[in-house]
């Protein structure tokens, strides 16, 4: 099979996947807010699990860390599946040409609101790195890990979370 024959079909397939319609089914605002709470709650639960497993010893501490780890993973999975799907809520992670002009305006507003928060969180991480360079006694791998994952989580999910939190309940047709 010739590459020149396959490429147009592959390009058309890729384009059809990327430009397929965005779902209107964003659900009620109350449920979307629970998804946001679940997603960011899972971050704190996983940080607690990590800190517990790193610092505490004994069977009870290990079991508690494991329970927190499982709870955090379940909660994070629920948050990711409900917020970061192919719906308007996840507009910040979708192509502009699948959104109408109001949705693009909402997406741009959410991105501009999220950007400084992600920037500030990253700045805190960089400041911590500078501090541990000067005072190695402050070095704590759990904190470094929490800062890294926090910055990653905020970067991928905060704009979508802002839309999920603020978009009113959808109208009936």
């Amino acid at each position: 099979m010739n590459v020149d024959e396959v490429r147009p079909r592959a390009d058309a397939r890729t384009k059809s996947i990327l430009t397929r319609p965005v779902s209107d089914k964003i659900g009620p605002r109350r449920r979307r807010r629970w998804s946001v709470v679940a997603l960011y709650g899972s971050y704190f639960v996983l940080c607690a699990s990590s800190a517990l497993s790193a610092n505490a010893s004994g069977k009870i501490a290990n079991v508690a860390a494991l329970v927190l780890l499982i709870a955090g993973i379940v909660s994070a999975t629920y948050g990711v599946l409900t917020l970061l799907g192919r719906t308007f809520v996840n507009a910040p992670n979708l192509r502009a040409d699948v959104l109408d002009e109001r949705q693009q305006a909402r997406r741009n507003a959410a991105l501009s609101q999220a950007y400084p928060i992600v920037g500030m969180f990253t700045a805190v991480g960089l400041l911590y790195m500078m501090l541990i360079d000067a005072w190695p006694a402050l070095r704590n791998f759990t904190v470094i890990e929490a800062l890294f994952w926090g910055a990653f989580l905020l970067a991928i999910s905060l704009p979508s979370s802002i839309i999920a939190w603020t978009e009113p309940d959808p109208l009936a047709d």
Binding site: F88, D100, A105, Q113, I162, L171, D173
Partner: protein, 103 residues
């Protein structure tokens, strides 16, 4: 804290207010006259049906391009669909000049 306050205020301020003034429209009446659902109108205009709702409630000011598209779809001049001042009710516009006197 100031940043969080700004986010809150941005959310409380409608899109129409932020873009420098409310644009009134007759979209709800025109859609009802034509017996269209929001979804049907949205499909005809190539927008999301939620956006039709936002337009009808005056919570979103359309771009000039969308405003022209809507006017073309309803086959009316753009100033019959959109205005910077509130529209009078259709009945007042049609019969108001007669002073209420009918035979």
């Amino acid at each position: 804290m100031l940043y969080i306050y700004n986010i809150h205020m941005a959310r409380e301020t409608s899109v129409a207010d932020r873009s420098g003034g409310k644009i009134y429209n007759r979209l709800a009446v025109l859609r009802a006259e034509r017996g269209l659902t929001r979804q049907e109108l949205a499909d005809a205009l190539g927008i999301n049906y939620q956006t039709v709702g936002y337009l009808e409630r005056g919570e979103y000011n359309p771009s000039l391009e969308l405003a022209f598209r809507i006017a073309e779809f309803v086959e009316l001049p753009i100033d019959a669909v959109f205005s910077r001042t509130p529209f009078k009710p259709m009945s007042a516009e049609l019969y108001g000049s007669r002073g209420g006197a009918t035979t």
